[in-house]
């Protein structure tokens, strides 16, 4: 892997850190992969919900980044504001967020294919939802 960004991630403030969702089940594996959900927040504009994930494996492939929450596939995403390729922001519609349940498994993969390698981000905790001052998706 070439040069990892040293730039401080915008959401790494203590307030946002409190939003970390507790990993369960495969916590050991998740820690080994250093995948985490950094924030769960409503966008400052619009009604979308943002899930911010980070990983020590950069998000680089050309295939569609897909976040699976339970059985739902979230395909709208964007980079971090600081440009870090180790962070990805996924956008859920209000309907998608309503359908998601606390305890749903959160995984990341490229594309919708079966048998694709998945990264485990633990489980969703909807009680951690907060409001963001971050500019939402266009």
């Amino acid at each position: 892997m070439n040069g990892k960004s040293k730039t401080t991630f915008r959401w790494s403030s203590p307030a946002v850190a409190a939003l970390l969702i507790t990993l369960s089940g495969s916590a050991a594996m998740a820690q080994a992969q250093k995948n985490s959900i950094v924030a769960l927040q409503t966008a400052s504009s619009g009604s979308n919900i943002e899930i911010v994930i980070t990983s020590d494996e950069a998000f680089l492939r050309s295939e569609i980044p897909v976040l699976r929450i339970g059985k739902q596939e979230i395909i709208i995403s964007g980079p971090a504001e600081d440009g870090s390729v180790y962070t990805r922001v996924f956008y859920l519609s209000p309907e998608q967020f309503r359908s998601a349940k606390s305890g749903d498994r959160v995984t990341f993969q490229y594309g919708s294919g079966e048998g694709e390698r998945q990264r485990d981000f633990g489980t969703l905790d909807k009680s951690k939802l907060t409001h963001s001052s971050r500019r939402g998706r266009p």
Binding site: M1, N2, G3, K4, S5, K6, T7, L60, R61, S62, E63, I64, P65, V66, E73, I75, I76, S77, G78, P79, A80, E81, D82, G83, S84, V85, Y91, G111, S112, G113, E114, G115, E116, R137, P138
Partner: protein, 575 residues
């Protein structure tokens, strides 16, 4: 049974055909051409174009003939794919514009090796930058494909200005020198999806520009864009570690049977080729940051795969060889469909071996001709269940000794995939897109046999249809089903194609004398092995003693191996 004299005649005919094919080596489309070439750039800034209020640069590198007096020249537009957009030292980022002191990564200059060759044959070749799109494309449901299309169109508008009024930085240089009725596009990776979307985008605008040729290179196909009415070729690197499912094969599969389509479709499977080496900026050593070998980066970090990995006996191609494959096949494709140089068609049909400029012989070419008498006579498209018993000509289809004998991969009620238990990225023809989950893949005949008497017969009507003298070959696409243990690992399949005429004369041609497409799919790690159905073409001249004006059946006899299993589709007579 075929008599000895007939066998001798068939062998002689084969030798003559091979000699004729060999003669085409003299015509290598990838050799440097006669024009002296000039390099130039235009750059209107990082925020010169807006799509849905998103900043996008208007920047390109151009290669063109130094002497433009022979113009107007056709225009070819290249569009790179997804890649980090900014860098600082060895660190890289995804944002646009780049925050100083970060600088843009110039993915658009990664194809100059091919721009230069094409320009030397009298093409103006512009490779455009799309970092602004890459930074935010996934914020849009179509993953930025319309954005890419709009960006290409904006560049074409700019070329229209260069061609009519002139504009800086070129002044009047290109006025009257650009033929915007003859435009070709090449897009790599997400750029491949972009040029596919652009073809239809331009059409939706009333076709202000004449897009005559589209070349998606290792492309994504997220929208299942149907590219009818345009000649296209898709290049698929077998050892692609990025778009590892080779989803770009859908472009070919989806466009085969559009009624009245007068354009040809091709794909080129490059064994041992990867994804990133096609762009010099992305390949290791090509830039200070964000370079990698995608096979090793994403699929096989230890390089252990026997075919795509790094071991001494692997078949992976060097960067120079990868460039060679584009130089041969993209240049040939453009020269055929923008330049009218039909002499290169045998290369794009697979009748001629890869030219020396390709720098590898491990290439399989597939071809689907336009919908026209003399170009294509569809015997069995295998599109739906009834084709198991009745072919497209309304005649009986008879399996013998085949088990299973069913269709897979196509519309309901077919199973969605053909290889049970295998990851979808090993099954490119049926790999799904998250944006088009309901879209099914290629309908394929799935079958196997347990003794060497098995066969599959398609009857031809006893009317004018049976006169196939206007065609050059009988062809179909097939792949060894590596998921079926009746195939012996690493051993290619072989079988016979038999034509029979109205009075019962038959002649047989051995597939192995004509094609190495029924190879056992190589590889063991990650996305390989994978099934890609490659075209097998048997020249009709080999069927000595059969009256080609009255052919009554095409029989495929699985008589060369005791057991086996194949996936097969598109049985046609072709030009």
């Amino acid at each position: 049974m075929i008599s000895k004299p007939k066998r001798f005649a068939a062998a002689l005919a084969t030798l003559c055909l091979l000699f004729a094919a060999g003669a085409t080596f003299a015509q290598d489309p990838g050799d440097p051409g006669p024009f002296a070439v000039v390099r130039a750039e235009y750059d209107y800034g990082d925020d010169a174009f807006r799509f849905s209020d998103q900043p996008t640069e208007l920047r390109a590198v151009v290669y063109h003939p130094k002497d433009l007096s022979g113009g107007p020249f056709p225009l070819v537009v290249f569009l790179h794919g997804y890649h980090p957009t900014c860098y600082l030292g060895s660190a890289f980022f995804l944002q646009w514009p780049c925050t100083p002191p970060r600088e843009p990564i110039p993915s658009y200059i990664g194809y100059e090796y091919e721009q230069e060759i094409l320009a030397s044959y009298g093409y103006i070749v512009t490779s455009i930058s799309a970092n602004g799109v890459n930074a935010r494309d996934t914020l849009f449901f179509d993953q930025g494909m319309t954005w890419r299309a709009a960006l290409i169109q904006r560049h074409l508008d700019q070329w229209n200005t260069f061609n009519t009024e002139g504009a800086e930085p070129f002044g009047k240089l290109f006025v009257g020198k650009v033929d915007l009725t003859r435009v070709g596009t090449m897009g790599h990776s997400r750029g491949g999806g972009g040029v596919a979307r652009h073809y239809n985008y331009n059409r939706e605008l009333g076709s202000p520009y004449g897009i005559r040729a589209v070349f998606p290179l290792a492309p994504v196909d997220r929208l299942r864009e149907v590219l009818d009415s345009v000649n296209f070729a898709v290049l698929l690197p077998y050892c692609d570690g990025d778009v590892a499912d080779l989803q770009g094969v859908h472009y070919f599969d989806d466009a085969r049977y559009v009624e009245g389509d007068q354009t040809n479709k091709h794909y080129v499977l490059v064994m041992g080729g990867n994804h990133s080496f096609y762009n010099t900026v992305w390949a290791p050593g090509g830039w200070p940051a964000a370079t990698w070998d995608d096979w090793l980066q994403f699929e096989d970090p230890s390089g252990s795969d026997p075919f795509c990995g790094t071991g001494g006996s692997s078949h992976r191609l060097t960067q120079e060889q990868v460039h060679g494959t584009l130089r041969a096949y993209l240049t040939g494709f453009i020269r055929i469909y923008l330049g009218g140089e039909a002499k290169f068609l045998p290369i794009l049909k697979g009748d001629s071996p890869p030219p020396p400029s390709a720098m590898t012989s491990e290439i399989h070419v597939s071809y689907h001709p336009k919908d026209a008498v003399g170009s294509r006579l569809t015997v069995n498209s295998l599109l739906a269940e009834d084709r198991l018993s009745t072919n497209d000509l309304g005649e009986p289809v008879t399996p013998s000794g085949l088990d299973p004998y069913d269709l897979c991969g196509g519309e309901d009620p077919q199973p969605r995939h053909c290889l049970e238990g295998q990851p979808t990225r090993r099954q490119p023809h049926t790999t799904p897109s998250p944006l088009m989950m309901k879209a099914r893949g290629l309908s394929q005949l799935r079958f196997g046999w347990d003794d060497a008497t098995a066969e599959w017969t398609n009857q031809i009507p006893d009317d004018s249809t049976s006169d196939v003298r206007g065609y050059a070959v009988v062809q179909f696409r097939a792949s060894v089903n590596f998921n079926d243990p009746r195939n012996i690992p690493d051993v290619p399949q072989d079988f016979s194609v038999i034509l029979t005429d109205r009075v019962g004369n038959s002649a047989s041609a051995l597939v192995s004398n004509n094609s190495d497409a029924p190879y056992y799919p190589p590889g063991q790690v990650g996305a390989v092995p994978k099934v890609v159905l490659n075209t097998i073409r048997i020249p009709l001249a080999q069927f000595i003693g059969v009256d080609l004006s009255q052919v009554r059946s095409v029989r495929i006899q699985f008589n060369q191996r005791d057991t086996g299993a194949l996936l097969l589709t598109d049985l046609i007579f072709a030009d």
